[in-house]
């Protein structure tokens, strides 16, 4: 009887320890939900539409994992989503800057030609 009580206590303690060690529900998932919704916009889809779709699929996988109480997978996917969204935003900003550079270069070429037509000799300092 005494031996059984000790075993039961040990079982309870072990269960408690294991319970404490398991992953708690993801705190990052709500953040990743917000992050994904922030890139669900034509500004981002214009340049990196595929990336937006991929991250939306990943978010759904995270939601499914959360529904199945697979907290570790949910948290990992949520963490990945945050970085995926950061990358989407940066890629878009970079592409916008790239586009702006191209347009400005074209404007400058036009302006340059116009100035050459007006007074070619005076363009020399700007050509340097």
């Amino acid at each position: 009887m005494h031996f059984k009580t000790i075993n039961f206590t040990c079982f309870l303690l072990l269960g408690g320890i294991l319970g404490c060690a398991s992953t708690p529900p993801s705190k990052t998932l709500p953040q990743s939900e917000v992050a994904v919704s922030s890139v669900d916009h034509s500004n981002y889809k214009k340049y990196v539409g595929n990336d937006v779709e991929t991250v939306q699929v990943k978010l759904q996988r995270a939601r499914d994992a959360a529904a199945n109480k697979d907290n570790l997978i949910t948290e990992q996917l949520a963490q990945q989503i945050l970085l995926d969204v950061d990358l989407i935003k940066l890629k878009t900003q970079r592409m916008n800057a790239e586009q702006e550079v191209k347009e400005l270069e074209a404007n400058i070429i036009n302006l340059h030609q116009e100035l050459q037509w007006r007074e070619p000799i005076q363009l020399t300092p700007l050509d340097q």
């Binding site: 990992q76 963490q79 990945q80 970085l83 995926d84 950061d86 990358l87 940066l90 890629k91 900003q93 970079r94 800057a97 790239e98 702006e100 550079v101 400005l104 270069e105 404007n107 400058i108 302006l111 340059h112 116009e114 100035l115 007006r118 007074e119 005076q122 363009l123 700007l126």
Partner: protein, 270 residues
């Protein structure tokens, strides 16, 4: 006893060799290799040092996880590390484009300022030139008797010489028409009316015909010097519009004249 000891030694070395040579994990090796390459990119430390530091940390956590035999966690951190490396590269590219943009904007500003300078210089030069031309033309037209009328500027040329009784211009009359010619060449938008007048000597109908022929002769001369004929209209009034008495020689001389009306810009449009 000796056999037992040897066995222990073999087991010990076996365990040591297992511990010192962990299995290579290609995804981790790839991530480490790409991190090394990324770190070598010019200016990246300046722009994305924190991001690269985090990428490094994720690699270390992945290594730790692999040592504990948890490849799933290792894969997760390898993914995060690669993402951080990509973010670092994007930060660098964005920085480079922004720098380029600043440079181009400055260049554009300089060019616009330069264009304005050229434009103002050109405008100043054109104004100066126009003023000089006007002055010159005023001087030239000053040789004629001029009057501003509702029809335009009226120039009276009394001493224009024609072959007696005919409508052919005497050669020296060309010199007299030179200022008018210059004016018309310098003002291609301006149109004129040439009006011929005679004194009352002879038949009125003949005088009228003669005055028209003389006006036409002036037109023909101007056209031969490059003035488009459509800019010139001619009229012959004969003796109908005298400006002085026809009873004296001096009066008749004044009546024998060619008048040029320089139309105003508004009249031209009409």
């Amino acid at each position: 006893m000796l056999i037992k000891f040897n066995l222990q030694v073999i087991i010990f070395f076996f365990l040591i060799s297992c511990a010192s040579a962990p299995k290579s994990y290609p995804p981790l090796e790839d991530a480490k290799s790409s991190l090394t390459t990324t770190k070598q990119e010019q200016d990246i430390q300046e722009v994305a040092s924190v991001t690269l530091f985090q990428a490094d940390e994720y690699i270390q956590i992945a290594e730790q996880a692999l040592q504990e035999g948890d490849s799933s966690t290792a894969d997760h951190y390898i993914y995060l590390s690669i993402r951080k490396q990509e973010i670092a590269k994007e930060l660098l590219l964005k920085h480079q484009y922004e720098q380029e943009l600043d440079k181009l904007k400055q260049q554009q500003q300089e060019m616009i300022a330069h264009a304005r300078h050229i434009e103002s210089k050109r405008a100043y030069t054109e104004t100066q030139t126009a003023q000089q031309r006007v002055k010159k033309l005023e001087q030239a037209l000053g040789q004629y008797q001029a009057e501003e009328t509702s029809r335009g500027t009226l120039l009276v040329i009394n001493d224009l010489l024609f072959v007696t009784g005919g409508a052919d211009l005497e050669p020296e009359s060309a010199r007299r028409l030179e200022p008018l010619l210059q004016y018309l060449q310098g003002n291609p938008q301006r149109e004129i009316i040439i009006e011929g007048h005679t004194d009352s000597m002879g038949e009125a109908s003949k005088n009228k015909r003669l005055s028209q022929q003389r006006a036409d002769a002036v037109k023909q001369y101007l056209s031969s010097r490059g003035i488009v004929a459509s800019r010139i209209e001619t009229r012959g009034f004969g003796e109908e519009v005298p400006v002085a008495t026809n009873t004296t020689k001096a009066g008749r001389r004044l009546n024998r004249r060619v008048e040029i009306v320089i139309k105003t810009a508004t009249q031209n449009e009409n």
